[in-house]
Each structure stands twice: as C-alpha cells, then as structure tokens.
Symmetry: C2
Subunit: 204 residues, 2 copies
C-alpha cells in the first residue's frame, strides 16, 4: 500500500486549512497550516510556493464564497450587493487582512469578480475611461469599512481628558452599532454619488 495516498495534499486543501485557522482566530502561518493538516511544514512546498502563494489562494477561495453573480438587476443594485459582500468578507477574516493588502491580485476567481463589476458599470452607462477609477473607488471603500468592522471593540481609548471626543465615546452606542451606522450612511452616499455621476440618458 502506498503511504503517500493517505495525505493527498492539494493547494485547495492547504488554502482551506488556512481559512479555518483565521476564522477560528487561531495562529496563522505555514507551520500552523501544516500542523492542522497533520503534516510537516516542508511538505507544503511541493504544492505551493510559499506563504504569499497560500494567501493568494485563500483570497480566491474567499471570493468564491462571498461573491455575487450579476443577475437581472440594475447596475446600482449589483454594486450595492458587491460592496456589502466584500465588506463582510473582510470583516469575517480580519486576521487575513494584513496579509492581503499590498499584494498584486492574480487569482482568476478574484479577477473574474472585478471583471463582472467592470461590465456592470459599463452596461450601466459609464464611459470606459472612468470604469477602472470607479472600481478602485468601490474597492477602497469596501476595504476601508471592512477594516473598520474588523477593528477591536475599543477603537479609541483616551488616557487623558479631551475637549469633546471622550464625552462622545462615553455616551455613544456600542461599537458595532456605530460602525454599522457609518457604513450604511457611507454606502448610501457612494451610491447617490455614482448615480449622480452617470451621464444622463433618455428618460424612460
């Protein structure tokens, strides 16, 4: 009997083990993944090229789970859905964020998702030379608010008297609710701004 078959590592298995770690707020890394898979760290290197590769695979797996496909809906409904899901994705995996940022995106699924967004904006009537700009804006938006949601309960902790800030923090609603409100407000603002910017078309 071939002992190798018992293990049967694959890039997908490795990525999913990594996702389970970050979702469980467990320590994350090459060694931790190997431990979770009951294998030696060096074994992973036959299937992936290193930690960066694993992280990009994880990004792909995440987008597969969280993305929404464009259906028969207006472009702005699709954008809203994309932003909401993307933000939730980031917020559900805060521990992965430091690894995701600042790295070139190559995962085909992820590129596809951005492609869908670009197509939606185009068919909504936006000119080609503005679409990447808008995609970048939507991306920065989702990321910024994902980070906000991933922040600790106490984002600010004043240790000295303030003019106003400390009083507001003391009297404010619990963190999650406030963060949710600022997201809803900002999302509304984003969508209004996008509709505003849309070149006018024939009245229906």
């Amino acid at each position: 009997m071939d002992r190798r078959r018992i293990v049967g590592l694959t890039p997908t298995l490795i990525a999913d083990a990594g996702l389970e770690l970050v979702e469980g707020a467990e320590p994350f890394g090459v060694n931790a993944i190997a431990r979770k898979l009951g294998v030696r760290p060096s074994s992973l290197y036959k299937h992936v090229s290193g930690l960066d590769d694993i992280v990009e695979l994880m990004r792909g797996r995440l987008v597969e789970r969280y993305r929404t496909l464009p259906a028969d809906q207006p472009w702005d409904a699709f954008v809203e859905d994309v932003v909401r899901r993307q933000r939730r994705m980031y917020a559900d995996h805060p521990a992965l964020l430091p690894f995701l940022i600042g790295k070139t995106i190559t995962s085909p699924t992820v590129i596809d998702a951005y492609d869908d967004l670009a197509v939606a904006l185009q068919s909504g009537g936006f000119p080609d030379d503005e679409i990447l700009t808008l995609v970048g804006m939507i991306d920065a938006f989702a990321l910024g608010f994902g980070l906000e949601l991933a922040s600790p309960e106490q984002v600010w902790q004043p240790e000295a008297p303030t003019q106003l800030f400390g009083k507001l923090l003391a009297g404010s609603q619990s963190g999650p609710e406030r963060v949710e409100r600022s997201f809803e407000l900002a999302l509304d603002v984003l969508l209004v701004a996008l509709r505003d910017r849309l070149p006018s078309r024939d009245q229906e």
Copy 2:
C-alpha cells in the same frame, strides 16, 4: 565614566528608528530597530513593552508630523485637509499599515487629532449623536484610499482572458494617476455628502 550614557535609549528614539526603517523600505521589527540603534534587542525592553508598544509610539510620531491644527477655516476645509494628510501618511508608510490596523488607539497625540476633528464637526453644526459616526466614516475613507495608494504598481494581474477588465487595464493610464483620480473623485463625493447632510441653518 558611565558607559550607560553613551547609549541613552528613549521610547521616542526607538519609535523614530522604526520610522526610518519603514520609510526606507528596510526590514522592520524589534531586532531591526535594535540593529539600527547599535544595541541588543533585549535592551529595548527597558523602555518599551514590546513590538505593539513601539508601533503605537510610531503612530503617535507620525500623527505629530502629518496632522493639521484647526485654524480659522470652515469645517469642510478642515475635513478635506485632514483626509488628504491622513491618506498621505498611510501612503508614505505602507509597510507599517499591517501593524497599525486592528489595534486600539491610545497615543495622546492621535486621540487629540481625532478630538480636533470631532470639535470641527460639532462647530460645523452636526448633532452630537452623529459625530462619532462621521469620524468613523472619514477614518475608513482615508484608510481605504491610503491602502490603495500603498498598493503595488500592478494591483491586478489577469492571467486569463476577461470580458472587459483586461482591456481596460491595458488601455488605462499608469497606476498612480488612476489611483489619484479615484481619490479626488471620492473625496469630492465625501465632502458633498457631508455638506448635504448638515442640518440647514440660517442663510448668511
């Protein structure tokens, strides 16, 4: 002669050494800072409690440098200035970002800067129960676009054919210009939205 005086470590010296490292895109960490200061890593622990402490001190030093004080200007001019400077701060120190995110902010200077923003919004006429929400929104905004600016030249790198995205990327302006455009557009949108949201006051 007292050999101790030759070294003379302080928290500020340690933080500034860390900033020089991230600004020079050199490897960053406790050991790297110690090397830069010509001292053993263990020596730092008499002055700071660890890496997290150092990072929070660095955040404070950064805000000291980048923040703007409220002068005789309308609230929206101040908000615009704050967002621009905050974004530039993040973009000038991309390597620090993974360490900054998701940590409670305690640095007095940083708290003061948020306090100024809160006061500006209040004196602009926003109701108290909305100010933290707006501060959170402005914060997420600056962070999201700072990240965008800190991204690699090639944010997206399709490896398979796309419907539209690949064509747009090929025909687009260079990365920095596009990112700059999406920031200017979004900042404009943010300010319009804030002014819109301001409860109406007596006409001047």
